[in-house]
Symmetry: C3
Subunit: 189 residues, 3 copies
């Protein structure tokens, strides 16, 4: 294998799990919009959940984290299937979902930045990796469902949130500051 | 380079070559449907043939196998070009082709699972890697030709076959059992 | 990290920077055609500039070069933003741009081939890697903007140029011969 993993701090792990579930649900909701079957839900949801982190790990030459421990693969799969079985209405425009999405973006920005700094990359690269972690899953989701990725077609809110999450963390080297979710909801609204 | 390759058993190698040729032909037939030129045939065919295995190797942190030995690259290229020069009719709906496709899927599922176990991944991951090996090439093919990947839009037969191939192998740790191709044709029909 | 980088020769570095700027501008012009906002310009431009080399490095198991040194990321970003701010007309059909594009393709072919040979890959693989370096960025650009990649839909001129650049270099192991740009413009015209 490649670079062995240094252990992640608990707060980063919690954020990562949160982000993955949020994105898996958002991916599964996209599958719903295209009236896919259960396989489509599972695939699009899982890929959206773990896609951003996978791209980051590949680019950094890090072992892709979920290949060693199936927890997160199963977590995303469960979230996608739960969406398939339990969610009846399209909740992607509900206020809670927009909040969760925005929070997921900034959280993933922080996680990506944290991991990238841990690998010893320069500051600029770490911020960029934060953005990739945050937006990568969505880009793969949109490419698979044959859309122009939202980050590109109307990317300002997304990019801003992801960049802010990543940038704030990199500068403060500190846990998320409360401006980020507020900024996020401002953009999402 | 990364992890050095442990030698693959002959039966796995034969299965791999078979799968690659089948998928290269299937990719080239897709190129035919879009009336592409010879470059299109060669590219789409080759990418479909080696795409799934490439994604698997990248995710596992393994040296991408065809970068060390051009045999398989040339094999896929030859299969694609043979399709361009010799195949006059669209054979993608012929019974033999459906059989071959289904067999290719389950065979690739077994190969991916075998390699993944060889790398020491957990059971769940190995099954998942089998699925990725089997379906990855087709996903890339569909993304390149600007379609929603079949595994997502109507994925149940594909996913079932690939999953069965991978799962059977992982549980039996044994060569392909005869149920798989029959299951496959049942799905493909 | 993975294989440490051997230093690249200055002429290769100059070619690489040239190719990246040309492709970043070409990516940003594509963003212009889709009337994207500034984030779209920056993303599509940057991805087009560094995409081909990134795919090559991942496949070769080489550290993705721009994760260690932000120069080239910033270069592509600057080129994309300069296109956004300063270029008023669509210059993608101007003669200079076609020249630059063709030159960028063959230059990237040479760079990819050089790096691949440096990694000790066989001859055929090196030529193939040259092609991937040259065309990869454009493929990602087209997939992101939801098009069938040009290399596939009408790929002969592109593939020819990239292949020529790569092949000439591999055979001559020598700097670009003057036939390449002339061949290129012939195809582009």
């Amino acid at each position: 294998m490649l670079t062995p993993h240094e252990p992640l701090s608990t707060s980063i792990l919690v954020m990562m799990y949160f982000g993955e579930v949020v994105f898996a649900v958002s991916g599964a909701l996209t599958a719903a919009r295209y009236r896919m079957d259960i396989v489509g839900y599972a695939m699009v949801g899982t890929v959206t959940g773990i896609g951003g982190g996978t791209i980051r790990d590949l680019l950094l030459g890090r072992t892709v984290w979920w290949t060693e421990d199936p927890t997160e693969l199963l977590l995303c799969l469960t979230a996608s299937l739960a969406t398939f079985f339990f969610i009846r209405h399209d909740i992607s425009h509900r206020k809670e979902m927009i909040w969760a999405d925005a929070l997921g973006l900034s959280v993933f920005g922080v996680v990506g930045c944290y991991i990238s700094l841990q690998q010893g990359t320069p500051f600029v690269i770490a911020v960029f990796m934060g953005m990739i972690t945050a937006t990568g899953g969505g880009v793969i989701r949109d490419v698979l469902t044959n859309n122009v990725p939202m980050i590109i077609s109307c990317g300002q809110p997304y990019a801003t949130v992801a960049l802010l999450g990543s940038l704030c963390y990199a500068t403060l080297r500190y846990l998320e500051v409360p401006e980020i979710p507020s900024e996020a909801i401002a953009c999402g609204a």
